[in-house]
Amino acid sequence: MFWRKQKAAIAGFHPLHQALIFERGFAATHPAAEWSALAASLHRHAGLIRRSKWALPHRAIDVFLPLLAAVCEDLGPKGVLAVTADLRGIHVPAKSHPARDIPVRPPARSATETWSIDPWLRLHAGLRDGSGLDILVVDRQRLRRVTKRGSSGKTKIKRKTQLTQLIRVRRRLPRGVAGARPQVPPPAWIGVTLRDGERRSVLAAAKLPRLPQSADEQVDRILTVATETFRWTR
């Protein structure tokens, strides 16, 4: 039987690890101990699985795991973390909106624009200091197809894609905590909004004009936006 050993290994993996392999994502809510069981399982993957069909999706090990470890540190014994991870990538058909026509000027004859929206990671955690933390990361792609007639009369199609990323973090401050504006302002690429209510929320958002070029940069960007919401209660 083919792949017998690797199949057996997968059967021993954490159920969410299996979901990452076969469905490239999952939605689940657990306390820190269960998430560290998932992390331990994921760390065994590379040593046991060779078949490329069963490879872990992009971002599972080098982006998702470090974020998971960071947030779990703050959960405390009673807190839970909800994760919705969809690591299928932006190119699955369900993530694309229908193409729509956009106005053109000669020599272009027609043009369409297609948006694809990929909310690939969503975290919601109740932290031990009593605050609620939400992190959302969304990749967005704009694809423009322009049809032109060249001087020779030949029709040409030009494609241009633009990939951007939105990182949004909301922290609901602990009950009764007002927070104070940090003395050092956030970097220009992070926008901060306060929302008052029964509990105050600090919202930090960044729109990156291009995707981070490495997993480390990706993790760093997300953590930096999240950090902004914690600087209000230093």
């Binding site: 560290s36 470090p66 470890a69 960071a70 947030v71 540190e73 703050d74 932290l127 031990r128 200091d129 605050s131 933390l133 940090p182 003395q183 050092v184 956030p186 970097p187 760093d220 953590l223 930096t224 999240a226 950090t227 914690f230 600087r231 209660t233 230093r234």
Partner: protein
């Protein structure tokens, strides 16, 4: 009871506070059974010596690297130095270690 003085948390910092069973041979802080890292050291000291056998040592290293980066990024030295003078000392030979960590209550969750 002597509470464990190991720093926990990532965005929110606090002391572990469980009952300590030993003192770290490198820095002397009280350490509970859950936080005894390689060589009986506290996670910070183990991490400073690149001994990552205990998950808390890896977490300590991640937290320190992250705070250091953020402080540089923001040009906000306070984000690193305020984080925990005591923990930082383990990584900076020559820096004086403050002994004030035991004064923190068990539930002192400081967002330094």
């Amino acid at each position: 009871m002597t509470p464990c003085a190991v720093t926990t948390g990532f965005f929110t910092l606090g002391k572990c506070g469980q009952m300590a069973v030993a003192g770290c041979p490198a820095c002397g802080r009280a350490v509970c059974a859950d936080h005894l890292a390689d060589g009986g050291m506290c996670p910070e000291c183990a991490a400073a010596r690149r001994q990552f056998g205990h998950p808390a040592a890896a977490a300590a290293a991640r937290r320190r690297a992250y705070r250091h980066r953020q402080a540089q990024y923001y040009g906000d030295a306070g984000y690193y130095s305020g984080f925990d003078d005591y923990d930082r000392a383990a990584f900076e030979p020559g820096a004086a270690a403050h002994q004030d960590y035991l004064d923190d209550g068990d539930d002192a969750l400081v967002d330094s």
